[in-house]
Amino acid sequence: MTPGEPLIRWDWVASHATEIATRVGEHVELAAIAVFVGFVIAFLVSLLVLRFGRLEQAATFLTGTLYTIPSLALFALLVPYTGLTILTAEIGLVGYTLLILMRNIVGGVRGVPAEVTEAARGMGLTRAQILWRVELPLALPVIVAGLRIATITTIGLVTVTALIGQGGLGYLILLGIQLFFSTPLIVGAALSVALAVAADGALVLAQRKLTPWTKGARALPHAGLPPGT
């Protein structure tokens, strides 16, 4: 940003390698907690919605409104109550995962063909057994698709929490903006994108292992059944 200054000064990167590694660790931790907690909450709410259909409108309205509130605004709304803490960051980050995850869990289960659940009922499976042994496994590709979007979004949003004193790699971006120094800015941004791409790839691989029957068919709810069902 200063004329004559190279975009990346590799000597800075080398001398700050430990700090960069720490920030990557923080970033992963913030994102992982958020996606995990978000998934647990979204899963429980989805089970309730699937059981009591009337709850769906209320749940969609709440999570949808939460999703619409700009991230920086949501963090700012929480700061007076929970301070510049990791809790503030996590409440916001978890909040943003809920709509995406819930939509995919509920949609995935509902997308299971009726003939399949009928057949399961005919085989004498109880409602709970149908959910856990038939519907959820078949919905897995759609659920993982939601998990992928939630993870990518969260990894990006973590950078914003730098403004409330957290942030992982966002700290480096903010540092770069404040010092007019492009090296930490580019390192932070590039690593954040790389983390998102890596996490997405890992989830795709995990899904292929978990649902081998979808091979080549890509996350479609009707993309074939496990052999032997």
């Binding site: 940003m1 975009l7 409104t65 619409t68 509130i69 700009p70 991230s71 920086l72 605004a73 949501l74 700012a76 709304l77 700061v79 007076p80 979007i149 990518i152 979004t153 990894i155 990006g156 949003l157 973590v158 950078t159 914003v160 730098a162 403004l163 409330i164 966002g170 971006i173 903010l174 770069g176 903006i177 492009s182 800015l185 580019i186 932070g188 941004a189 590039a190 954040s192 994108v193 998102a196 791409v197 997405d200």
Partner: protein
């Protein structure tokens, strides 16, 4: 409760409603940046999306560009825009934020306009061709109006995203409602911070609802049809 009372006090203070740091000015700045970014993004993305949708070409790219856009953190785009803006001699504030907002708004508009055209019933398109319409006429008078709700959905996502992310412009000395949040954080004036957050949230939710109304209206027109 005392905190919310002092936030209400902040809103009630007449000084916060006038001048260059007043609420009307900040809202106007926010909307100006949003409108310009979304319009420029639409001028870029709509023709490409509609054309690709009409020809069915480059489907993979058109659909996946939205996901790619999601992977780029907005703070990172702003960070990348800053050196570019300096290199172009445009400095801080409005222009680097604008440069960060356009790539944020392009993907949802492009993907949705592509999907909108593809989703139009092929028989309808064939009928239009059979009536002697040229390809451009088919796109303009059949596919675009029928796809309007989905196209508007893309504009809705883009606009709400830009309203949300434009707050970050305050970090690079831009105006808009983000000023209250960033200054409130820096000065530890939590009333200002909270007030700014409430205003941005209301603006985003209001825009979302407004587009919802537009979408419903366009769906109505699309199904009922108009006299020529």
């Amino acid at each position: 409760m005392t905190f919310l009372t002092s936030v209400a006090g902040w809103f009630a203070d007449a000084r916060h409603w006038q001048g260059t740091d007043g609420i009307p000015t900040r809202i106007a700045e926010h909307l100006e940046l949003t409108a310009l970014s979304v319009v420029v993004a639409a001028v870029i993305a709509l023709p490409i999306g509609l054309y690709l949708g009409h020809t069915g070409r480059a489907a993979f790219l058109a659909i996946n560009i939205a996901n790619l856009g999601r992977a780029l953190p907005s703070l990172a785009i702003l960070a990348f825009a800053l050196p570019v803006s300096f290199a172009l001699g445009l400095g801080l504030g409005f222009w680097p934020t604008f440069m960060a907002m356009v790539p944020l708004a392009v993907p949802p508009i492009l993907t949705n306009s592509f999907v909108a055209v593809r989703a139009v019933d092929r028989d309808t398109v064939e009928a239009a061709r059979g009536m002697g319409m040229r390809e451009l006429q088919v796109l303009r008078s059949v596919e675009t109006p029928l796809g309007a709700p989905i196209i508007l959905g893309g504009l809705r996502t883009a606009t709400v995203n830009v309203i949300a992310t434009a707050t970050l412009g305050a970090l690079v000395a831009g105006g808009g409602l983000g000023r209250y949040i960033v200054d409130g954080l820096a000065l530890q004036e939590y009333e200002r911070l909270f007030a700014g957050a409430v205003l941005v949230a209301l603006l985003a939710i209001g825009t979302e609802l407004g587009f919802g109304v537009l979408q419903r209206a366009s769906r109505h027109t699309a199904t009922v049809g108009r006299e020529p």
